[in-house]
C-alpha cells in the first residue's frame, strides 16, 4: 500500500488533522501501511464472523460454521434472541421437594420461583441471582435434555448438577433438621391469556422430573452444597 500523503489533502469543510508530522522514511511508512492492512483484515474477518454467527442458518454460515465458531467462541459468544422471534409468553413456576434421609420422609412442594418474585417485587435493582439464576438453570437444563429427561448435549450433566444445586440451596431452609437424600423438580407452565388462546390452552401444564439422588447423581460439589446452603 502506498503511503501517499496528498499534500494538504483535506476535503473542503473538514478540519485538517492537527499537527500532522509527515513520515519521511520508507520503513516507517511500511510499518504504518502494514498495520493498516492488518487492522483492515482483522476487522473484516471479525465483522464477517460476527454476522455469520448471528445470522440464521444459511449455506454460507453452514459451510464456515466450524471456523466461525472457533473465532467467536468463547470470547465473542453472543446471543440477541431475548424476546425474539416471539417473547416468552408463559409463566413458569419451578417447584422442588426433597426426600429426607434416612427414613424417606417427603417435604411438601416448595415454590422456588416465588422466592425470586418476592425479592423482585418493588425492587428497582434486583440482583443477578434473583433475576437470572433459576431461569437460566431451568432453560439450560431444557436445552440439554430431551422431553424424556435424557441428556442430549455435551454439558447435560453439568446443567443437571447445576439445576439440582440451585434447588437444593433453595430447599435448605425448608427441610428442618433432615438431610436431603434425593430431590424432585417440577415445572408448572401457564400460557398467558391472549388472542387466539383458548381456556383449555391456558390451563397450567405440569412437567415432573424424576427423583435425583443427591449422593448418587452428583460426585462432590452438590453434596457440599447441602451442607453450606
Amino acid at each position: 500500500m502506498s503511503a501517499s500523503t496528498p499534500g494538504s489533502g483535506t476535503a473542503p469543510g473538514r478540519e485538517p488533522a492537527l499537527n500532522p508530522r509527515p513520515l519521511t522514511r520508507s520503513w516507517s511508512r511500511a510499518l504504518v501501511g502494514g498495520t493498516t492492512l492488518a487492522v483492515l483484515l482483522v476487522v473484516a474477518l471479525h465483522l464477517a464472523a460476527t454476522f455469520l454467527y448471528n445470522a440464521p442458518a444459511n449455506p454460507v454460515s453452514q459451510r464456515y460454521a466450524s471456523s466461525v465458531n472457533r473465532w467467536m467462541q468463547p470470547l465473542f459468544t453472543q446471543n440477541w434472541q431475548l424476546f425474539a422471534p416471539n417473547p416468552v409468553s408463559e409463566n413458569i413456576e419451578i417447584d422442588a421437594r426433597a426426600s429426607l434421609d434416612p427414613d424417606g420422609r417427603l417435604t411438601g412442594w416448595v415454590n422456588l420461583s416465588a422466592q425470586d418474585e418476592a425479592a423482585e417485587l418493588g425492587n428497582p435493582v434486583p440482583g443477578h441471582i434473583t433475576e437470572n439464576q433459576l431461569r437460566n438453570a431451568w432453560f439450560q437444563w431444557l436445552d440439554t435434555h430431551d422431553s424424556n429427561g435424557n441428556p442430549t448435549g455435551a454439558n447435560a450433566d453439568v446443567m443437571q448438577k447445576y439445576l439440582m444445586a440451585v434447588a437444593l440451596e433453595r430447599l435448605s431452609g425448608h427441610v428442618g433438621r433432615g438431610t436431603i437424600g434425593s430431590v424432585q423438580i417440577r415445572a408448572i407452565t401457564t400460557l398467558i391469556p391472549g388472542p387466539g388462546r383458548t381456556p383449555a390452552q391456558t390451563a397450567p401444564q405440569t412437567r415432573t422430573l424424576d427423583w435425583w439422588s443427591v449422593t448418587h447423581n452428583s460426585s462432590d460439589s452438590s453434596v457440599t452444597q447441602v451442607g453450606t446452603g
Partner: protein, 535 residues
C-alpha cells in the same frame, strides 16, 4: 479508463488513508464508553457485594468443579480456558481480594488513569468474573464483556481522563517555561513538546510518529467494530422479531408485561398491558427501529429520532422489567453514534470553562502531542474593591482554590462609567461584568456564584446551586452580612492592600485585551509577550 478519474480515485484513497492513520474517530464518544462501562461495572460489583460469595466464590452454587466441567464440555483450552476459569481456582480470601481489585480497576478505568494498561486489566477482570458463572449472566453482561475487549484497542483515554489532565498540565508547564525563558520563537512553532521530540535522534522521532499512527489505526478499527457490533445487536434482535407472530399482531409487549420473572411493579405493568393500541404501536416502533438501526445510523436525519426511541425503550425496560444494568449498558453503547462535536459541547457544559482552559494546552491530536495553547477567549470580569484588604484576600483565595476562568479587576483600576458602574455600586459589592455587552451586570452573591460556575470542580455545581432560589436568598443574605462587617474581618488592612494591589492588578489588567486600559509600567513587558502569544 479516464486518467482524471483514476487520479481522483487515488487522491480519495490517499486522503482516506491519511484520515484513518492520523485522526482519532469518535475520541470523545469512546471516552463516554470508557466512563460509562467503567461506572456500570463498579456499580454492578457494589450492588452484588453481599451476594458475591454465592455468585462467584469458592462455595458458589455454580461451583468451581462445575465451572471447570463446563469449560471442558465447551471445548475450551489453553490460555482462553485459563482466563475463563481464573476465578474458579481462588480461595475465599483470594476471591475477596480479586473482587476488590476488580472494583479498583473499574474506578481507575473511569478516571482514565494510565488508560491503556488499565483497559487491559479491565477486560481481564470483566471477562474472568463474568465467566466464573456464565449461567448468571444476561444480555447486559454479554455486551459489557464484548465491549471491554474491544476497548483495549481504542485510545479511550484521550479525553476527560487523568491521562489527559496530566498531559495538559505538562504541556502548560512547558509552554510557561518557554514563555519565561523569553523564547518568543517557541510561540510561533507548534508546541514545546514538538520541539522536545525534534531534539531527539531522528529515527526515534520517526518511530514515535509511526507508533502514534499505528495506535490511531487500531483505534479506528476498534471503533468500527464497536459500532458494527451494536448494529448487529439491534439488527439481529429486530430481524428475529419481524418473524415473530406476536410482534406482527402487536401483542408481544402485553405478554412481556405479564411475565412473573420480570415483574417488579405489577400494578403499573397491568395498567400498561390494558392499553392494547398503545402496546401495539410501541411494539411496532421497537421492531422498526431495531431492524432498521444498521441503516438508520447512516442518515443524520433519522439517527436522532431512532436514538431517542431506543433511549425510551431502554428506560422502559429498566423500570418495567427491573433490568437497569442491561438497559444502561445498551444505552452507553449508543453513545458512539453521537458525533464528537456533540460530546465536546456536553463536556463544555458539564466541565465548564476552567477545565477547558486548563486543558487547552492538552488538546491533542490523538496521542499526547500537544498542539500548543489556544488563544484564550474573552473572559468575563469580576470587579472588586482593591482598597479593602479583606476583599483582596478573598479574591486571592478564590483564584488559587477555585481557579476560575475569570478576570479579577479592582474597581480602582477601572473606568467605571465606561462599564456602566458607579462608585457606590462597586464599593458596596463585587460586580460581575459578562462578556456580552447586553447581558446584565450582576452583583454580590450572584456575582460570586457566577465566578464559581466558571471554576473547576467541585466549585462549579456549588455555583450552580447558589443561583437556585431558596439557596440564592440565603447566599445573598450571607453576602450582605459579610460585606457590611468586612472592615472587622481579618486581613482588612487597606493601606497594605493598595500597595500590593497596584503591582498585581497591573499584571492582571494586561489581558484585558480590549486595550481600553493602560497596563501601566512595570509588568507591561510580560503582558505584551503574553498578548502576542494569545494572538
Amino acid at each position: 479508463m479516464n486518467p482524471g478519474l483514476l487520479s481522483r480515485a487515488l487522491w480519495w484513497f490517499g486522503d482516506r488513508y491519511e484520515t484513518v492513520t492520523t485522526r482519532l474517530i469518535a475520541a470523545r464518544g469512546l471516552a463516554v464508553l470508557r466512563i460509562g462501562y467503567g461506572t456500570l461495572w463498579v456499580l454492578f460489583l457494589l450492588r452484588e457485594w453481599g451476594e458475591r460469595e454465592a455468585m462467584w466464590g469458592p462455595d458458589a452454587t455454580w461451583s468451581p468443579a462445575l465451572d471447570r466441567a463446563y469449560a471442558t464440555g465447551s471445548g475450551w483450552s489453553g490460555l482462553l480456558r485459563a482466563w475463563f476459569t481464573a476465578v474458579a481456582g481462588l480461595t475465599s480470601a483470594e476471591f475477596d481480594l480479586f473482587y476488590i481489585a476488580a472494583i479498583a480497576v473499574g474506578v481507575a478505568f473511569v478516571l482514565g488513569w494510565h488508560t491503556r494498561i488499565v483497559s487491559i486489566l479491565f477486560a481481564f477482570v470483566v471477562v474472568a468474573l463474568e465467566n466464573r458463572a456464565p449461567l448468571l449472566t444476561d444480555g447486559g453482561d454479554n455486551v459489557l464483556t464484548l465491549m471491554s475487549v474491544y476497548l483495549v484497542f481504542t485510545a479511550c483515554g484521550t479525553h476527560w481522563s487523568l491521562d489527559a489532565r496530566r498531559r495538559g498540565l505538562r504541556a502548560n508547564a512547558q509552554a510557561r517555561a518557554a514563555l519565561l525563558a523569553g523564547d518568543l520563537a517557541a510561540q510561533s512553532s507548534d508546541s514545546a513538546l514538538d520541539r522536545a521530540v525534534e531534539y531527539a535522534p531522528d529515527w526515534r522521532a520517526e518511530l514515535a510518529e509511526a507508533r502514534r499512527r499505528m495506535a490511531i489505526v487500531a483505534h479506528n478499527g476498534a471503533v468500527l467494530v464497536i459500532a458494527a457490533q451494536i448494529c448487529v445487536i439491534y439488527g439481529t434482535a429486530g430481524f428475529l422479531k419481524v418473524q415473530g407472530s406476536m410482534w406482527q399482531n402487536g401483542s408481544a409487549l402485553s405478554y412481556v408485561l405479564r411475565l412473573n420473572w420480570f415483574h417488579p411493579w405489577p400494578g403499573l405493568s397491568a395498567w400498561l398491558a390494558g392499553h392494547a393500541i398503545a402496546i401495539a404501536i410501541a411494539g411496532y416502533v421497537t421492531v422498526f427501529v431495531q431492524a432498521g438501526f444498521p441503516f438508520i445510523v447512516f442518515s443524520p436525519r433519522l439517527k436522532y429520532p431512532a436514538l431517542a426511541v431506543l433511549v425510551l425503550m431502554h428506560v422502559s425496560i429498566a423500570v418495567l422489567l427491573a433490568l437497569p444494568f442491561f438497559s444502561a449498558i445498551m444505552l452507553v453503547g449508543d453513545a458512539i453514534f453521537l458525533p464528537d462535536r456533540f460530546w465536546a459541547a456536553v463536556g463544555r457544559r458539564l466541565l465548564g470553562p476552567a477545565y477547558a482552559q486548563s486543558m487547552s494546552a492538552g488538546e491533542t491530536n490523538a496521542d499526547g502531542i500537544s498542539t500548543g495553547r489556544q488563544p484564550a477567549a474573552v473572559r468575563p470580569t469580576l470587579v472588586f474593591d482593591g482598597d479593602c484588604g479583606f476583599c483582596t484576600a478573598s479574591v486571592h483565595i478564590l483564584e488559587s482554590w477555585c481557579r476560575p476562568d475569570v478576570r479579577f479587576v479592582p474597581w480602582q483600576m477601572l473606568d467605571l462609567a465606561a462599564h456602566g458602574l458607579t462608585e457606590q455600586q462597586v464599593s458596596k459589592a463585587v460586580q460581575w461584568l459578562p462578556v456580552a455587552a447586553d447581558a446584565p451586570i450582576r452583583s454580590g452573591a450572584a456575582a460570586v456564584a457566577r465566578v464559581l460556575l466558571r471554576s473547576r470542580w467541585p466549585w462549579r455545581p456549588i455555583g450552580a446551586l447558589m443561583l437556585v432560589p431558596p439557596i440564592s436568598w440565603l447566599a445573598a443574605g450571607a453576602y450582605h452580612l459579610i460585606s457590611v462587617n468586612r472592615y472587622r474581618l481579618p486581613g482588612s488592612t487597606p493601606a497594605c492592600a493598595v500597595a500590593r494591589e497596584n503591582a498585581v492588578s497591573a499584571q492582571r489588567l494586561g489581558d484585558l485585551g480590549g486595550g481600553a486600559h493602560d497596563a501601566g509600567s512595570g509588568a507591561g513587558r510580560i503582558e505584551l509577550a503574553e498578548r502576542d502569544h494569545a494572538d
